[in-house]
Symmetry: C2
Subunit: 179 residues, 2 copies
Protein backbone atom coordinates (compact mmCIF):
# COMPACT_ATOMS: atom_id res chain seq x y z
CA UNK A 1 0.00 0.00 0.00
CA UNK A 2 2.87 2.28 0.77
CA UNK A 3 5.25 2.84 -2.10
CA UNK A 4 7.07 -0.32 -1.11
CA UNK A 5 9.37 -0.92 -4.04
CA UNK A 6 9.80 -4.58 -4.86
CA UNK A 7 13.29 -5.53 -5.92
CA UNK A 8 13.38 -5.49 -9.70
CA UNK A 9 14.72 -8.99 -9.79
CA UNK A 10 11.44 -10.30 -8.50
CA UNK A 11 9.33 -10.34 -11.61
CA UNK A 12 8.01 -8.13 -14.34
CA UNK A 13 7.21 -5.68 -11.64
CA UNK A 14 5.11 -2.66 -12.32
CA UNK A 15 6.57 0.73 -11.61
CA UNK A 16 2.99 1.99 -11.64
CA UNK A 17 0.57 1.56 -8.81
CA UNK A 18 -1.01 -1.81 -9.35
CA UNK A 19 -3.92 -0.86 -7.12
CA UNK A 20 -4.99 2.00 -9.34
CA UNK A 21 -5.86 -0.09 -12.38
CA UNK A 22 -8.33 -2.73 -13.35
CA UNK A 23 -6.62 -5.13 -15.70
CA UNK A 24 -9.50 -7.37 -16.66
CA UNK A 25 -9.79 -8.96 -19.09
CA UNK A 26 -6.25 -10.13 -18.73
CA UNK A 27 -4.58 -11.55 -21.82
CA UNK A 28 -2.74 -14.28 -19.97
CA UNK A 29 -6.04 -15.41 -18.55
CA UNK A 30 -7.81 -15.39 -21.90
CA UNK A 31 -5.07 -17.56 -23.37
CA UNK A 32 -5.09 -19.94 -20.44
CA UNK A 33 -8.86 -20.22 -20.65
CA UNK A 34 -8.37 -21.68 -24.11
CA UNK A 35 -5.85 -24.29 -23.01
CA UNK A 36 -7.02 -24.81 -19.46
CA UNK A 37 -9.54 -27.60 -19.76
CA UNK A 38 -7.29 -30.64 -19.64
CA UNK A 39 -8.87 -32.06 -22.74
CA UNK A 40 -8.27 -28.87 -24.73
CA UNK A 41 -4.60 -28.89 -23.87
CA UNK A 42 -4.34 -32.54 -24.79
CA UNK A 43 -6.02 -32.04 -28.13
CA UNK A 44 -3.92 -29.02 -29.06
CA UNK A 45 -0.73 -30.77 -28.05
CA UNK A 46 -1.66 -33.80 -30.14
CA UNK A 47 -2.44 -31.56 -33.06
CA UNK A 48 1.09 -30.19 -32.76
CA UNK A 49 2.43 -33.72 -32.74
CA UNK A 50 0.68 -34.29 -36.05
CA UNK A 51 -2.57 -35.99 -35.09
CA UNK A 52 -5.51 -35.11 -37.30
CA UNK A 53 -8.26 -37.66 -37.06
CA UNK A 54 -10.95 -38.25 -34.51
CA UNK A 55 -10.02 -41.77 -33.65
CA UNK A 56 -6.32 -41.00 -33.45
CA UNK A 57 -7.03 -38.13 -31.08
CA UNK A 58 -9.16 -40.48 -29.05
CA UNK A 59 -6.46 -43.10 -28.72
CA UNK A 60 -3.58 -40.69 -28.14
CA UNK A 61 -5.37 -38.68 -25.48
CA UNK A 62 -7.55 -41.35 -23.91
CA UNK A 63 -10.51 -39.01 -23.99
CA UNK A 64 -13.99 -40.43 -24.32
CA UNK A 65 -15.81 -39.73 -27.58
CA UNK A 66 -18.23 -37.32 -25.96
CA UNK A 67 -15.55 -35.15 -24.42
CA UNK A 68 -13.35 -35.28 -27.48
CA UNK A 69 -16.20 -34.37 -29.75
CA UNK A 70 -17.11 -31.38 -27.60
CA UNK A 71 -13.51 -30.23 -27.44
CA UNK A 72 -12.92 -30.50 -31.15
CA UNK A 73 -16.06 -28.49 -31.71
CA UNK A 74 -14.94 -25.82 -29.24
CA UNK A 75 -11.49 -25.54 -30.73
CA UNK A 76 -12.94 -25.37 -34.21
CA UNK A 77 -15.41 -22.69 -33.13
CA UNK A 78 -12.53 -20.78 -31.64
CA UNK A 79 -10.67 -20.94 -34.92
CA UNK A 80 -7.76 -22.95 -33.58
CA UNK A 81 -8.58 -26.06 -35.56
CA UNK A 82 -10.30 -26.33 -38.88
CA UNK A 83 -12.15 -29.21 -40.46
CA UNK A 84 -10.71 -30.30 -43.78
CA UNK A 85 -12.26 -32.91 -46.01
CA UNK A 86 -10.06 -35.70 -47.25
CA UNK A 87 -10.61 -38.81 -49.23
CA UNK A 88 -8.53 -41.92 -48.74
CA UNK A 89 -8.82 -44.09 -51.79
CA UNK A 90 -11.11 -47.03 -51.21
CA UNK A 91 -12.74 -45.27 -48.33
CA UNK A 92 -15.43 -42.72 -48.03
CA UNK A 93 -14.93 -38.98 -47.77
CA UNK A 94 -14.25 -37.82 -44.24
CA UNK A 95 -12.74 -34.80 -42.62
CA UNK A 96 -9.82 -34.21 -40.36
CA UNK A 97 -8.82 -31.48 -37.95
CA UNK A 98 -5.84 -29.28 -38.65
CA UNK A 99 -4.30 -26.35 -36.92
CA UNK A 100 -5.14 -22.94 -38.32
CA UNK A 101 -2.70 -20.04 -38.33
CA UNK A 102 -4.15 -19.06 -34.99
CA UNK A 103 -3.53 -22.53 -33.65
CA UNK A 104 -0.08 -22.79 -35.15
CA UNK A 105 0.81 -19.49 -33.52
CA UNK A 106 0.47 -21.19 -30.15
CA UNK A 107 3.78 -22.88 -30.92
CA UNK A 108 5.87 -20.50 -28.85
CA UNK A 109 3.61 -20.98 -25.84
CA UNK A 110 3.46 -24.75 -26.23
CA UNK A 111 7.20 -25.06 -26.66
CA UNK A 112 7.84 -22.76 -23.71
CA UNK A 113 5.65 -24.96 -21.56
CA UNK A 114 7.36 -28.08 -22.83
CA UNK A 115 10.81 -26.66 -22.08
CA UNK A 116 9.74 -25.53 -18.66
CA UNK A 117 8.38 -28.93 -17.70
CA UNK A 118 11.44 -30.70 -19.07
CA UNK A 119 13.60 -28.53 -16.85
CA UNK A 120 11.54 -28.33 -13.68
CA UNK A 121 9.29 -31.35 -13.70
CA UNK A 122 11.50 -33.90 -15.41
CA UNK A 123 10.05 -37.33 -15.90
CA UNK A 124 12.19 -40.22 -14.67
CA UNK A 125 13.24 -41.53 -18.05
CA UNK A 126 13.88 -38.16 -19.62
CA UNK A 127 11.71 -36.21 -22.05
CA UNK A 128 9.32 -38.22 -24.17
CA UNK A 129 9.47 -35.79 -27.06
CA UNK A 130 12.41 -33.71 -28.22
CA UNK A 131 12.25 -30.90 -30.74
CA UNK A 132 15.14 -30.27 -33.07
CA UNK A 133 15.84 -27.76 -35.78
CA UNK A 134 15.29 -29.61 -39.03
CA UNK A 135 18.60 -29.90 -40.77
CA UNK A 136 20.80 -28.32 -38.13
CA UNK A 137 19.54 -30.72 -35.49
CA UNK A 138 20.05 -28.46 -32.51
CA UNK A 139 17.33 -28.37 -29.88
CA UNK A 140 14.61 -25.77 -30.00
CA UNK A 141 13.78 -23.31 -27.29
CA UNK A 142 12.16 -19.95 -26.81
CA UNK A 143 13.98 -16.73 -26.10
CA UNK A 144 12.72 -13.48 -24.71
CA UNK A 145 13.77 -10.57 -26.81
CA UNK A 146 12.58 -7.04 -27.39
CA UNK A 147 11.48 -5.66 -30.72
CA UNK A 148 14.84 -3.95 -31.11
CA UNK A 149 16.52 -7.32 -30.81
CA UNK A 150 18.03 -7.02 -27.36
CA UNK A 151 17.94 -10.25 -25.39
CA UNK A 152 15.98 -10.24 -22.14
CA UNK A 153 17.99 -12.14 -19.59
CA UNK A 154 16.12 -11.46 -16.41
CA UNK A 155 12.69 -10.29 -15.45
CA UNK A 156 14.37 -7.18 -14.17
CA UNK A 157 14.68 -6.15 -17.80
CA UNK A 158 10.95 -6.31 -18.21
CA UNK A 159 8.83 -3.32 -17.43
CA UNK A 160 5.09 -3.92 -17.15
CA UNK A 161 2.80 -0.98 -17.69
CA UNK A 162 -0.94 -0.50 -18.10
CA UNK A 163 -1.97 -0.67 -21.75
CA UNK A 164 -4.72 1.17 -23.59
CA UNK A 165 -7.31 -1.36 -22.43
CA UNK A 166 -6.65 -0.79 -18.73
CA UNK A 167 -9.24 1.17 -16.82
CA UNK A 168 -8.48 3.28 -13.83
CA UNK A 169 -9.97 1.98 -10.63
CA UNK A 170 -12.82 3.97 -9.14
CA UNK A 171 -11.04 4.66 -5.89
CA UNK A 172 -7.30 4.57 -6.45
CA UNK A 173 -6.23 6.29 -3.27
CA UNK A 174 -8.87 6.05 -0.54
CA UNK A 175 -10.04 2.82 1.06
CA UNK A 176 -8.79 -0.51 -0.15
CA UNK A 177 -12.45 -1.31 -0.58
CA UNK A 178 -13.34 -1.96 -4.18
CA UNK A 179 -16.16 -4.45 -4.06
Amino acid sequence: MQPRVPEPTEAADPAWNREAWLLEPDSVQRALDVLAPRSAGQVVREAFYGTRRFDDFRRHTGLTPGVLSARLRDLTDQGILTKVAYHDSGSRRRHEYRLTDKGRDLAAAIISLLNWADRWLPSPGGPTVVLAHRGCGASIRTELRCADGHPVDSLGDVQAAPGPGAREAADPAGGTRDR
Copy 2:
Protein backbone atom coordinates in the same frame (compact mmCIF):
# COMPACT_ATOMS: atom_id res chain seq x y z
CA MET B 1 -2.43 -45.73 -40.89
CA GLN B 2 -0.78 -45.82 -44.25
CA PRO B 3 2.42 -43.80 -44.50
CA ARG B 4 0.36 -40.72 -45.28
CA VAL B 5 2.91 -37.96 -45.05
CA PRO B 6 1.48 -34.76 -43.62
CA GLU B 7 2.73 -31.63 -45.29
CA PRO B 8 5.60 -30.31 -43.20
CA THR B 9 3.98 -26.89 -42.95
CA GLU B 10 1.27 -28.33 -40.79
CA ALA B 11 2.93 -28.47 -37.43
CA ALA B 12 5.87 -29.92 -35.61
CA ASP B 13 5.09 -33.11 -37.38
CA PRO B 14 6.85 -36.31 -36.50
CA ALA B 15 8.77 -38.10 -39.18
CA TRP B 16 8.55 -41.15 -36.92
CA ASN B 17 5.45 -43.26 -36.60
CA ARG B 18 3.37 -41.61 -33.95
CA GLU B 19 1.43 -44.83 -33.38
CA ALA B 20 4.49 -46.75 -32.32
CA TRP B 21 5.26 -44.73 -29.19
CA LEU B 22 3.68 -43.99 -25.87
CA LEU B 23 4.46 -40.41 -24.99
CA GLU B 24 3.02 -40.20 -21.50
CA PRO B 25 3.77 -38.39 -19.36
CA ASP B 26 3.83 -35.52 -21.79
CA SER B 27 5.75 -32.43 -20.78
CA VAL B 28 3.27 -30.00 -22.26
CA GLN B 29 0.59 -31.67 -20.23
CA ARG B 30 2.56 -31.58 -17.01
CA ALA B 31 3.15 -27.87 -17.43
CA LEU B 32 -0.46 -27.18 -18.28
CA ASP B 33 -1.57 -29.17 -15.26
CA VAL B 34 0.26 -26.64 -13.12
CA LEU B 35 -1.40 -23.62 -14.72
CA ALA B 36 -4.69 -25.21 -15.69
CA PRO B 37 -6.89 -24.61 -12.68
CA ARG B 38 -8.16 -21.11 -13.38
CA SER B 39 -7.15 -19.94 -9.94
CA ALA B 40 -3.58 -21.19 -10.36
CA GLY B 41 -3.15 -19.27 -13.59
CA GLN B 42 -4.59 -16.16 -12.00
CA VAL B 43 -2.29 -16.36 -9.01
CA VAL B 44 0.83 -16.94 -11.07
CA ARG B 45 -0.05 -14.12 -13.43
CA GLU B 46 -0.59 -11.75 -10.50
CA ALA B 47 2.71 -12.83 -9.02
CA PHE B 48 4.32 -11.80 -12.30
CA TYR B 49 2.59 -8.46 -12.09
CA GLY B 50 4.17 -7.95 -8.70
CA THR B 51 1.49 -9.00 -6.24
CA ARG B 52 2.82 -10.64 -3.10
CA ARG B 53 0.31 -10.54 -0.27
CA PHE B 54 -2.73 -12.61 0.44
CA ASP B 55 -5.22 -9.81 0.48
CA ASP B 56 -3.81 -8.23 -2.66
CA PHE B 57 -4.06 -11.55 -4.47
CA ARG B 58 -7.60 -11.83 -3.24
CA ARG B 59 -8.63 -8.43 -4.53
CA HIS B 60 -6.77 -8.66 -7.83
CA THR B 61 -8.07 -12.10 -8.70
CA GLY B 62 -11.49 -12.04 -7.07
CA LEU B 63 -10.87 -15.48 -5.64
CA THR B 64 -12.50 -16.45 -2.38
CA PRO B 65 -10.19 -16.91 0.59
CA GLY B 66 -10.62 -20.65 0.64
CA VAL B 67 -9.69 -21.14 -2.98
CA LEU B 68 -6.85 -18.65 -2.82
CA SER B 69 -5.45 -20.24 0.31
CA ALA B 70 -5.50 -23.67 -1.28
CA ARG B 71 -3.89 -22.40 -4.46
CA LEU B 72 -1.11 -20.55 -2.67
CA ARG B 73 -0.41 -23.69 -0.71
CA ASP B 74 -0.30 -25.79 -3.87
CA LEU B 75 1.98 -23.40 -5.69
CA THR B 76 4.25 -23.18 -2.68
CA ASP B 77 4.34 -26.95 -2.38
CA GLN B 78 5.23 -27.13 -6.04
CA GLY B 79 8.10 -24.75 -5.50
CA ILE B 80 6.73 -22.03 -7.75
CA LEU B 81 6.08 -19.60 -4.93
CA THR B 82 7.90 -19.27 -1.65
CA LYS B 83 6.79 -17.75 1.63
CA VAL B 84 9.02 -14.93 2.84
CA ALA B 85 8.63 -13.21 6.18
CA TYR B 86 8.48 -9.44 6.21
CA HIS B 87 7.88 -6.86 8.86
CA ASP B 88 6.19 -3.55 8.10
CA SER B 89 7.00 -1.10 10.86
CA GLY B 90 4.10 -0.62 13.24
CA SER B 91 2.60 -3.87 12.15
CA ARG B 92 3.17 -7.44 13.08
CA ARG B 93 5.40 -9.89 11.29
CA ARG B 94 3.73 -11.56 8.35
CA HIS B 95 4.82 -13.33 5.23
CA GLU B 96 4.37 -12.79 1.57
CA TYR B 97 4.53 -14.99 -1.51
CA ARG B 98 7.25 -14.56 -4.08
CA LEU B 99 8.17 -16.33 -7.24
CA THR B 100 11.02 -18.80 -6.99
CA ASP B 101 13.48 -19.42 -9.81
CA LYS B 102 11.18 -22.18 -10.96
CA GLY B 103 8.27 -19.77 -10.99
CA ARG B 104 10.22 -16.99 -12.64
CA ASP B 105 11.26 -19.40 -15.36
CA LEU B 106 7.64 -19.56 -16.45
CA ALA B 107 8.15 -16.08 -17.88
CA ALA B 108 8.64 -17.25 -21.44
CA ALA B 109 5.47 -19.31 -21.31
CA ILE B 110 3.43 -16.56 -19.67
CA ILE B 111 4.65 -13.94 -22.09
CA SER B 112 4.03 -16.23 -25.05
CA LEU B 113 0.47 -16.71 -23.88
CA LEU B 114 0.03 -12.99 -23.35
CA ASN B 115 1.34 -12.19 -26.82
CA TRP B 116 -0.85 -14.84 -28.38
CA ALA B 117 -4.00 -13.55 -26.74
CA ASP B 118 -3.15 -9.96 -27.63
CA ARG B 119 -2.87 -11.00 -31.25
CA TRP B 120 -5.71 -13.49 -31.59
CA LEU B 121 -8.16 -12.66 -28.84
CA PRO B 122 -7.78 -8.91 -28.64
CA SER B 123 -9.93 -7.14 -26.10
CA PRO B 124 -11.96 -4.20 -27.39
CA GLY B 125 -9.92 -1.45 -25.77
CA GLY B 126 -6.54 -2.95 -26.54
CA PRO B 127 -4.19 -4.82 -24.22
CA THR B 128 -4.51 -4.09 -20.53
CA VAL B 129 -0.85 -4.73 -19.85
CA VAL B 130 2.11 -4.03 -22.09
CA LEU B 131 5.61 -5.28 -21.51
CA ALA B 132 8.58 -3.18 -22.53
CA HIS B 133 12.30 -3.63 -22.38
CA ARG B 134 13.46 -1.51 -19.49
CA GLY B 135 15.56 1.29 -20.87
CA CYS B 136 15.18 0.58 -24.55
CA GLY B 137 11.40 0.63 -24.27
CA ALA B 138 10.67 -1.73 -27.13
CA SER B 139 7.98 -4.33 -26.65
CA ILE B 140 8.84 -7.81 -25.47
CA ARG B 141 8.06 -11.01 -27.27
CA THR B 142 9.25 -14.57 -27.50
CA GLU B 143 11.19 -16.03 -30.37
CA LEU B 144 11.75 -19.61 -31.33
CA ARG B 145 15.37 -20.36 -31.95
CA CYS B 146 17.59 -23.41 -31.95
CA ALA B 147 20.56 -23.90 -29.70
CA ASP B 148 22.86 -22.95 -32.57
CA GLY B 149 21.10 -19.63 -32.84
CA HIS B 150 19.14 -20.15 -36.02
CA PRO B 151 15.71 -18.58 -35.96
CA VAL B 152 12.73 -20.89 -36.37
CA ASP B 153 10.27 -19.22 -38.67
CA SER B 154 7.78 -21.93 -39.34
CA LEU B 155 6.77 -25.17 -37.75
CA GLY B 156 8.18 -26.85 -40.79
CA ASP B 157 11.60 -26.11 -39.31
CA VAL B 158 10.71 -28.12 -36.22
CA GLN B 159 11.33 -31.81 -36.13
CA ALA B 160 9.68 -33.73 -33.30
CA ALA B 161 11.18 -37.04 -32.29
CA PRO B 162 10.69 -39.49 -29.45
CA GLY B 163 12.99 -38.72 -26.55
CA PRO B 164 14.69 -41.05 -24.08
CA GLY B 165 11.55 -41.20 -21.94
CA ALA B 166 9.33 -42.50 -24.72
CA ARG B 167 8.36 -46.15 -24.58
CA GLU B 168 7.60 -48.26 -27.58
CA ALA B 169 4.02 -49.29 -27.85
CA ALA B 170 3.25 -52.96 -27.29
CA ASP B 171 1.69 -53.49 -30.67
CA PRO B 172 3.07 -50.98 -33.14
CA ALA B 173 2.06 -52.74 -36.30
CA GLY B 174 -0.85 -55.10 -35.75
CA GLY B 175 -4.33 -54.03 -34.69
CA THR B 176 -5.09 -50.47 -33.77
CA ARG B 177 -6.28 -51.96 -30.53
CA ASP B 178 -4.25 -50.73 -27.57
CA ARG B 179 -6.66 -50.57 -24.70
